[in-house]
């Protein structure tokens, strides 16, 4: 067994384990991590096959950009959200497994058909270009330039579309830091507003702060709690104790 096959069996097993882990884990974040793990192992396989450019691109694009974006969204949406195992679309699982099997069959068939004919090898593919990198560059920016440009146009359109969807027209001009500073200085509160709650008695947000002169401050409360009957009394707990 030479070094390459050792790498193949180790990394290949890890990649498959990562893919299985992704399907099996209940937490979305764990699934994302398993995919990242599988991607890194696939990159290692590319390295072993003397395709370092493909390997690094695999890590930069999939692990670094795509999965990181997934993680980012998951973390914003919910820290602990886990998948519900309930089937929401009728017959989804059956159809999905059917399609998956068909897809797997197509992949196996196409790969085995290429294995039947003898491979021409890396040296043949790189011949005439002077190396792996130059070969890829010649293919992307030569033979397949049009497809490459079309794809980039598609991506730019998608990015523009996302920007249009997320765009929000401002009603009023944005306040500058200078303006906010001015407003704060001219208002009655140069310092931050007092925090709600009375230390050691009740630190809930509906309890107004006690000022040094013994009065309470309505300004310490969030706007939503300033209504009648919503302000709890600062000393109510003390009263209850008596």
């Amino acid at each position: 067994m030479n070094g390459e096959s050792v790498v193949f069996w180790v990394s290949g097993a890890f990649a498959v384990a990562g893919a299985l882990g992704m399907v099996v884990s209940k937490k979305a974040v764990h699934s994302a991590l398993w995919v990242a793990f599988a991607m890194i192992n696939i990159a290692v396989l590319y390295f072993a096959l003397e395709a370092p450019f493909l390997g690094t691109t695999q890590i930069v694009v999939y692990t670094g950009a795509v999965m990181m974006l997934f993680l980012f969204v998951l973390m914003i949406v919910g820290v602990d959200s886990s998948d519900s195992l309930l089937e929401t679309i009728k017959g989804q699982r059956l159809l999905a497994s059917l399609f998956a099997l068909t897809f797997g069959g197509v992949i196996v068939a196409s790969i085995s058909s290429t294995l039947a004919s003898p491979s021409s090898g890396l040296a043949f593919a790189n011949a005439g270009y002077g190396g792996h990198m130059q070969g890829i560059a010649n293919l992307v920016f030569g033979t397949y330039l049009f497809a490459f440009e079309v794809l980039s146009a598609l991506l730019i359109t998608a990015a523009l579309g996302a920007m249009v969807l997320a765009h929000n027209e401002r009603w009023t001009p944005r306040k500058t830091q200078d303006q906010m500073q001015r407003e704060r200085t001219l208002s009655n509160h140069v310092t931050p507003l007092p925090a709600p709650g009375v230390l050691a008695r009740n630190n809930s947000v509906d309890t107004p702060a006690l000022l040094p002169d013994g009065t309470t401050s309505i300004e310490s409360l969030p706007n939503a709690f300033r209504g009648e009957g919503q302000v709890s009394k600062a000393n109510s707990i003390e009263e209850a104790g008596k």
Binding site: P52, G64, K233
Partner: protein, 447 residues
């Protein structure tokens, strides 16, 4: 022809006997740990001097052993794992951060070929045609350490710190990657040793100054150092992503941060400051770029960058988050794309023999001046139209806002101010606040 020659250069890598590889790996590890200790010491001493203090000076000569003692103390401290932590991820996160920090140094050339145990070998663990891309890939994996630390702590401040840092590092990684492109175009290679070799006649800091400036800005953002240390902003996030970490796990994050600092400095040295090549007055000595001497020049340059890092921390206040992101996306990235365009056109014209290089530089600077002037004129015009818009809004504001104009509830027009909700208004007018509560209190005590 250049390609063929460049390919030949890389053949010197990957032929070392196992013992030499082991020595190199161990050497890199030891150097990085020592650099970390030294950098922490230097940071405390230099920042101390900048703040009119002395800094640590008790343990060892000049306080040099202070960071070693701090490290030992940190490792021996009690370890606290929060109840809500996702244990497996919580443990893996600092390991990812620390290991990826060390991995990058494998492709940094520390010197030319030397003889170790009778084997002639380059002072570099390995190199391959895309080693700079490899550094980017490792850096992007390193972000996982920080993001996962924030998520797995099961606490809100670390989560915010992790989110901030992932957004920041992804954004600045783009600018960083773009700043490499000009270097690739000039060196006609992505391998670090070949980039150093290509800088023999002229360092790229001279040829590609804009790229250098963009890279140095991005590298400060990438390492979460002041003034871009928003992920660990003490005033806002307690400690950022590592708030819930203690003892050895925290030490790993600390180590990773300083190793990363050394790594990005080393990369800046490699890409723009001629790598291990001696600076001008020394380079006149014909032994300057031979044998083990280059390692000294290399680490001298790296320490110059580290000093700048410390200097920035001692001088600049932290940026506001929105300003920081705006700077990354709206200034650094467009500027580097425009610069790449100029460099690419210049390279093409030169290689096709169209124009002299010097004329091209003049033409490029002329184009730049014109672009700057046009953008200035546009800004002036926009300001004027902004003033008109402001006047219009001021006029609108004079009209009183009718929340039920036309019989339907409507939002205020630009410039108009919505009235406060009725609930709030009644509260203030009836004066629930001070007097009422006070009187009720007295009633309570009477009963």
């Amino acid at each position: 022809m250049i390609h063929a020659q460049a390919q030949g250069d890389l053949d010197i890598f990957g032929n070392d006997p196992a013992a030499v590889i082991a020595v190199k790996v161990l050497g890199i590890f030891v150097i990085m740990v020592l650099m970390t200790l030294l950098t922490i010491w230097a940071e405390r001493r230099v920042v101390g001097r900048m703040q009119m203090r002395i800094g640590p000076n008790r343990v060892g000569p000049f306080g040099l052993l202070q960071s070693l003692m701090d490290g030992i103390k940190l490792a021996l401290k009690e370890e606290i794992i929060p109840k809500g932590a996702h244990l497996a991820v919580y443990i893996i996160a600092p390991v990812i951060a620390a290991t990826t920090a060390f991995l990058t140094f494998a492709v940094i050339p520390l010197g030319p070929q030397v003889s170790i145990f009778g084997t002639v070998t380059p002072l570099q663990l390995t190199d391959f045609p895309v080693s700079v891309l490899y550094i980017l890939a490792i850096a992007s994996v390193g972000i996982y350490g920080i993001v996962l630390a924030g998520w797995s702590s099961g606490s809100i401040y670390p989560l915010l710190g992790g989110l901030r840092s992932s957004a920041q590092m992804i954004s600045y990684e783009i600018a960083m990657g773009l700043s490499f492109v000009a270097v690739f175009l000039y060196a006609e290679s992505m391998s670090t040793s070949q980039i150093v070799a290509a800088q023999e006649p002229m360092w790229y800091i001279v040829l590609l100054l804009p790229s250098f400036i963009i890279y140095t800005t991005a590298m400060v953002g990438e390492t979460n150092r002041a003034p871009f240390d928003l992920p660990e902003a003490e005033g806002e996030l307690v400690g950022g992503f590592h708030t819930e970490y203690s003892s050895l796990k925290f030490a790993l994050f600390f180590l990773a941060e300083y190793v990363n600092m050394v790594t990005v400095s080393a990369l800046a040295t490699t890409l723009f400051l001629g790598g291990w090549r001696a600076p001008w007055p020394i380079s006149l000595w014909d032994q300057a770029n031979v044998g083990w001497w280059p390692m000294l020049w290399f680490f001298g340059k790296v320490f110059a960058f580290i000093f700048v890092f410390i200097w920035l921390r001692g001088t600049l206040p932290r940026l506001r988050y929105d300003q920081f992101m705006k700077f990354g996306w709206k200034v650094l990235i467009p500027v580097s794309i425009a610069w790449i365009l100029i460099v690419a056109v210049a390279r093409y014209l030169r290689s096709s023999g169209g124009l002299e290089a010097r004329n091209l530089l003049f033409a490029a600077s002329a184009v730049l001046v014109v672009v700057v002037l046009i953008s200035y004129a546009l800004d002036l015009r926009r300001k004027k139209s902004d003033e008109i818009e402001e006047q219009r809004i001021a006029l609108e504001a004079e009209k009183e806002f009718d929340p039920f104009a036309g019989g339907f509830p409507v939002p205020p027009m630009p410039g108009q101010v919505a009235q406060q909700s009725r609930r709030v208004k009644t509260t203030i007018s009836s004066g629930v606040s001070a007097p009422l509560t006070a009187s009720e209190t007295t009633e309570g005590t009477n009963v």
